[in-house]
């Protein structure tokens, strides 16, 4: 049962990610990307990493995709289509991605995947929260704070740029 579901979601990810880059309508590409991200969230659910799955849904499906759709909506028209890619470019892109895929598959196949005997890892929300704010060894308090300051700086920058253009 789980295996069947895994193959369904993996197939979805493969098909829709190819469609994302080959579609000539930009908003359709965004929707295919949405499917890819949702299927990835489904895989996380399947592995019972529920927190990660929900983060994937909020950030990517609910945040990034909405942002992309917003910007596409403001800039392009329904009838607009991207120009078909030239053959040389397409061939080069295909070769590059095939090489990347081959490298990944080779690494995956040659890695022995040793069996892990450790007890099941606790992935509950509480544990994640205390790890994120932990300042002992293996705590993530510093990166957490650095990222918060980065985000704050980004927000301030956006507000300043938006205000300036009003004059």
């Amino acid at each position: 049962m789980e295996q069947v579901l895994f193959y369904i979601f993996a197939g979805m990810i493969l098909v829709f990610s190819v469609l994302t880059v080959t579609s000539r309508r930009i908003l359709r590409a965004a929707v295919y990307l949405l499917f890819v991200l949702v299927a990835a969230a489904a895989l996380f659910f399947l592995m019972q990493f529920e927190f990660l799955a929900a983060v994937q849904l909020t950030l990517y499906a609910g945040g990034i995709i909405v942002l992309i759709i917003f910007s596409v909506m403001l800039t392009s028209h329904v009838s607009e289509k991207l120009e078909p890619v030239k053959f040389g470019k397409a061939a080069f892109a295909f070769a590059a991605s095939a090489a990347g895929a081959a490298l990944t598959v080779y690494t995956l196949l040659s890695y022995p995947f040793p069996e892990v005997s450790a007890a099941e890892i606790d992935t509950s929300m509480k544990r994640i929260g205390s790890e994120l704010l932990g300042y002992q060894a293996n705590g993530y308090a510093l990166p957490f704070e650095v990222i918060s300051i980065l985000l704050l700086a980004g927000m301030l920058g956006v507000i300043i740029i938006a205000k300036r253009s009003e004059k």
Binding site: F51, A54, G62, V66, I69, M73, V78, M125
Partner: protein, 367 residues
């Protein structure tokens, strides 16, 4: 038939559900049985949403009529009760029109995306003891995460219709939903500070000696008010129904939809209304937990006589009435007023409220 179905009890569904599960597995083996169970749950939810749509639309029309001193639907069936059934039949037989210059694939897809989100959220809501499809560790976060997908459907519907009114409606609704999500999340977090868990069953269990709206002092009441306002805006209902403001932009993002596809948007709105009320009932009013006051035994026992599922639906009905009340009382806001309300008032209020609640929880001043 085995005595499997005799275990039915209105007070605790877990035994009954377990026995149905056992029976299905005995009947068809573990894999097929499991699939049958999933199909059964899905069918239940489909029927439930259809019935919900029918009844809530009727109730809304009656409530609206009541506030406007009219009678509302009276002709079809006794007191107009069959009016919505007639409406559904009408919608089913209408021609599904299609604009010539629209992006047809996205145009067809949008209503489905809008319907999927509320269905996934329904699965996470505890209806009664044991009547709960997925009791996730991250329950409340899951609800927030999944409901944020719905807005994609609205944006797609507006854009793919290739109609200026649809586009304006979709832009408005996108801006509105993305901003009001923050207040919804912050006001729910205010209560999570007290429960210490996002799991909905634990949130309900933590209210066994009183609901959080009473136990949580002043900040809980503020959080409830903020949640009600913000979630009304998130479901695109009046006075925040800028996305479909009839008098300005015909019908907003679903202008070009007709027949059953229009019915999808309509149904999704009412299912979302139900979900918002259900989340409010679960987090602030104890979900299916009967009204308990501390350790007053005889009072608590008397309240326990009413089945939990009745409590749950009673609470939802009261909150829905509240939401309908202010839909039919206040005039529609302008889009800039709406964004001002969120960013300059609700968001600062809910951040301060969250801090206040954390302080109270730290000091142990709540009950």
């Amino acid at each position: 038939m085995k005595p499997v179905f005799l275990k039915f009890s209105l007070y605790d569904f877990s035994e009954w559900i377990k026995s149905i599960h056992q029976w299905l597995i005995e009947l068809a083996g573990p894999t097929i049985g499991h699939l049958l169970g999933l199909a059964l749950v899905g069918t239940c939810f489909l029927l439930f949403t259809a019935l919900l749509g029918l009844s809530v639309v009727y109730i809304e029309r009656k409530v609206c009529a009541f506030f406007q001193q009219r009678l509302g639907p009276m002709r079809v069936g006794p007191y107009g009760t069959a009016q919505t059934v007639a409406d559904i039949i009408k919608l089913l037989f209408k021609e599904p029109t299609m604009t010539k210059e629209s992006d047809k694939f996205l145009f067809m897809l949008a209503p489905f995306i809008i319907m999927i989100a509320p269905f996934m959220v329904l699965a996470a809501i505890p209806f009664a003891k044991g009547l709960h499809v997925m009791d996730l560790n991250i329950g409340l976060f899951f609800i927030l995460a999944v409901s944020s997908i719905g807005v994609t459907g609205i944006l797609l519907a507006g854009w793919s219709s290739n109609n200026k009114y649809s586009l304006i409606g979709a832009m408005r609704s996108g801006a509105q939903i993305v901003s009001y999500e923050l207040s919804v999340a912050l006001s729910l977090l205010t209560i999570v500070v007290l429960t210490g868990s996002l799991q909905l069953s634990e949130i309900v269990a933590s209210q066994a000696d009183g609901w959080w709206i009473f136990k949580g002092n002043f900040p809980a009441i503020v959080a409830f008010i903020v949640f009600t306002i913000a979630s009304t805006a998130e479901t695109n209902r009046g006075p925040f129904d800028m996305a479909e403001a009839e008098s300005e932009i015909t019908a907003g993002f679903h202008t070009e939809y007709s027949g059953i596809k229009f019915a999808f948007f309509f149904l999704a709105e009412y299912v979302n209304l139900f979900i918002v009320s259900a989340v409010a009932a679960t987090v602030f009013f104890g979900g299916w937990m009967p009204l308990h006051i501390g350790n007053i035994e005889f009072f608590n026992n008397a309240m326990d006589l009413i089945p939990p599922i009745v409590w749950f639906f009673m609470k939802i009905a009261v909150i829905m009435f509240l939401v309908m009340w202010f839909k039919w009382t206040f005039p529609r806001l302008r889009i800039d007023q709406l964004l001002t309300l969120e960013w300059k008032y609700l968001l600062p209020i809910s951040v301060v409220n969250l801090l206040l609640m954390s302080f109270i929880a730290l000091k142990g001043w709540h009950f």
